[in-house]
């Protein structure tokens, strides 16, 4: 990765009085797989459409490889888009769809032919080049849309929930294919999705959006392990939220118990209330009375009671009622260490623990 493919500098988009995108600034590197992730209506599509040129920002600048493009109409921007509805040209066959952009750019005929053939090979659709879009399955239509954009070798490819219309299994498969294709062609991808798993598994970096703003931007591990605010912690994965008060020496009091948080960070004054988030999969649960089995010595522990249990196949999701009245969800992965007779009962008293470094302090 080198150089900046897209620079977004303080763009705002208003529809009348409604602010759809609110002063966003992002820098997307060349060759990066960059995702915009957020709930419905947070402004992902609007942001993408401003990059494509279908909407003009109310204010702010967009740089494409250093050049300002806010005033450049879509057909003169060297970016291409994969639409959520695919927007294939039904009156053209697959080949005609893929060749559309090259024809408009007046590329010589035989070059069009070879590039279209290459693009169709890339998406494994060579055998369907003569088919009409309506004769194709959803996954095939998706790949035509992808080939139609990629064949132009754009500087940046914009994808608006490209897998949203596919069923779960096909979606998983296409995620892997898309990622492989992106690595192969080395084009910058800006990928809009509201599926957090998709964003985590595919992206180099993720910008989590909420209400037209970027809540946090960083690599998947960072936004997952170190969410800066409650919204991010809650939107990406599930989080248990605990209310605490800062005490001296980087300690946080939760109820009667005191917890030593390693990376509490500076700027917290004594007595200040903070929220601590813990991922369910980081929470260990043990029977009371028996030898410690999952809970490790340096864990922070509290006592609780199993309130409900959901069997997930690969494990159990337990909802625990803590002694101090709070609730906690624990995701217990089934492992080879699991005893055959091991069964959790609702109402059973348990010991709950987690490593202090797995506490995420939210601002």
């Amino acid at each position: 990765m080198s150089g900046e493919a897209i620079g977004i500098q303080g763009i705002t988009k208003k529809f009348g009085d409604f602010v759809a995108v609110d002063d966003i600034s992002l820098s997307i590197a060349q060759g990066e797989f960059f995702s915009l992730l957020g709930p419905s209506g947070c402004g992902k599509t609007t942001t993408l459409r401003m990059l494509a040129g279908f909407e003009a920002p109310t204010s702010g600048r967009i740089l494409l490889e250093g050049d300002p493009v806010e005033k450049v109409p879509p057909h003169q921007r060297n970016v291409n888009m994969v639409f959520q509805s695919y927007a294939l040209f039904e009156h053209l066959d697959v080949e005609g769809n893929v060749a559309f952009g090259l024809k408009r750019k007046k590329v010589p005929k035989d070059e069009i032919r070879t590039r279209v053939a290459e693009a169709l090979e890339l998406v494994a659709l060579s055998s369907r080049s003569g088919s009409r879009p309506n004769e194709l399955s959803g996954g095939q239509r998706q790949r035509v849309a992808l080939a139609r954009a990629l064949v132009n070798q754009p500087r940046v490819l914009l994808l608006d929930e490209p897998l949203g219309a596919l069923d779960l299994k096909l979606r998983r498969q296409m995620q892997i294919e898309l990622k492989a294709i992106q690595r192969e062609v080395g084009i910058t991808f800006v990928y809009v999705t509201h599926d957090q798993e998709e964003a985590l598994s595919m992206s180099d970096r993720i910008a989590v959006m909420s209400d037209g703003k970027v809540a946090q931007c960083g690599p998947p591990e960072e936004v997952y392990e170190h969410p800066k605010e409650e919204f991010v912690a809650g939107f990406i994965g599930i989080s248990n939220l605990l209310e605490g008060k800062v005490e001296s020496g980087g300690r946080v009091r939760i109820g009667e118990d005191c917890l030593e948080v390693p990376d509490l960070g500076d700027g917290h004054t004594e007595g200040e209330s903070v929220r601590i988030a813990v991922r369910p999969e980081k929470v260990a649960v043990d029977e009371i009375g028996s030898a410690a089995y999952r809970i490790e010595p340096d864990m922070f522990t509290v006592e609780g009671e199993i309130e409900s249990k959901v069997y997930l196949g690969v494990g159990n999701q337990l909802t625990l009622k803590l002694g101090n009245g709070g609730r906690l969800v624990a995701l217990e992965q089934a492992t080879y260490r699991m005893r055959a007779d091991e069964q959790w009962e609702v109402g059973q008293k348990v010991k709950v623990g987690w490593h202090p470094e797995h506490c995420m302090v939210l601002g």
Partner: protein, 292 residues
């Protein structure tokens, strides 16, 4: 117990509903098929000494239809109809496009505003055009008053007036199917055209027009069919030089009192239009198969 699955019962009720085809069927047979058959039969007849149509079996009337005297009338009718179709398309497409894409919540009000004038009888609307285009009509009076011309311009009794009247009379049949197909078009397809380096004009030619071709075809056929047989516009706004086949047929039945020849003309016209109709239906059903 589930009674609704009883096979006997559902069969009876199906038979029962089948009876409902009869009133409409009889109506069509009596008032549609029989007159048509009478016209067909009469077209092979001749006129007796008192000017009454007599059934017979001769092809004379058909030979007369393609007589050199009438060929210009047939050609003129088709030419006027084609000109009308083209003008309706050129005027109607931008109107339909604007309403469908930019009408927003006023879309239905705008469509209604277009349709309402067509509640007025076609004949009455064409008379209004006479008042507009006559030598002492509104347009000429204004032109003279404003000093744009010395004397009134001859507008009535010209082919332009006749085609203008036809366009005015039938344009709604172009706009409505165009509107329907433009509104149904996925707007992101147009954006895809622009995204793939198509200028607005190229995108219109290569994306929008093909995507709305079903509406274009329907509009053209719906305008062409009634226009080619129309007699009102030529009668009120035209003169001897704009005589159309509709006028010819009308004269056979009312003025010349040659019903057999009028019938033969009618049959030829119907066959001619049927060819167009079949062409349209085949295209339309193919288009439908493509949509599915």
């Amino acid at each position: 117990m589930d009674h609704s699955l009883d096979p006997g019962e559902s069969l009876t009720s199906k038979r029962f509903w089948d009876w409902f085809i009869f009133p409409g069927g009889i109506w069509i047979a009596l008032l549609f098929a029989i007159p048509l058959f009478l016209v067909l039969a009469l077209s092979f007849g001749h006129v007796d000494d008192f000017g009454r149509g007599v059934y017979g079996f001769s092809l004379d009337n058909y030979r007369d239809v393609f007589d050199a005297t009438y060929i210009p009338v047939l050609v003129r009718s088709v030419a006027y109809a084609l000109a009308t179709v083209i003008l309706c398309l050129l005027i109607g497409y931008p109107v339909a496009y604007f309403i469908a894409r930019y009408g927003g919540r006023y879309r239905y009000a705008l469509v209604a505003a277009l349709v309402i004038p067509f509640f007025v009888n076609y004949l009455v609307r064409t008379y209004a055009w006479v008042a507009l285009l006559a030598d002492q009509g509104l347009v000429n009076n204004l032109l003279v008053d404003w000093g744009l011309t010395e004397a009134p311009i001859q507008m009535i009794n010209t082919p332009f007036a006749v085609v203008g009247g036809l366009v005015y009379g039938y344009i709604i049949f172009m706009i409505l199917p165009l509107y329907a197909s433009i509104e149904r078009m996925d707007p992101s397809v147009v954006e895809a055209g622009k995204d793939l380096y198509g200028s607005p004009f190229q995108t219109f030619i290569h994306v929008t027009l093909p995507a709305t071709q079903a509406g274009i075809l329907a509009g053209c056929v719906l305008v062409f069919l009634p226009t080619v047989g129309d007699f009102v516009s030529a009668q009120l706004l035209g003169g001897p030089d704009t005589y159309m086949v509709g006028n010819l047929i009308q004269d056979q039945f009312f003025a010349a009192s040659n019903w057999p020849f009028g019938s033969a003309l009618t049959v030829v016209m119907m066959l001619f239009l049927a060819v167009w109709m079949v062409f349209y239906l085949r295209r339309a059903s193919k288009g439908e198969a493509e949509v599915l």
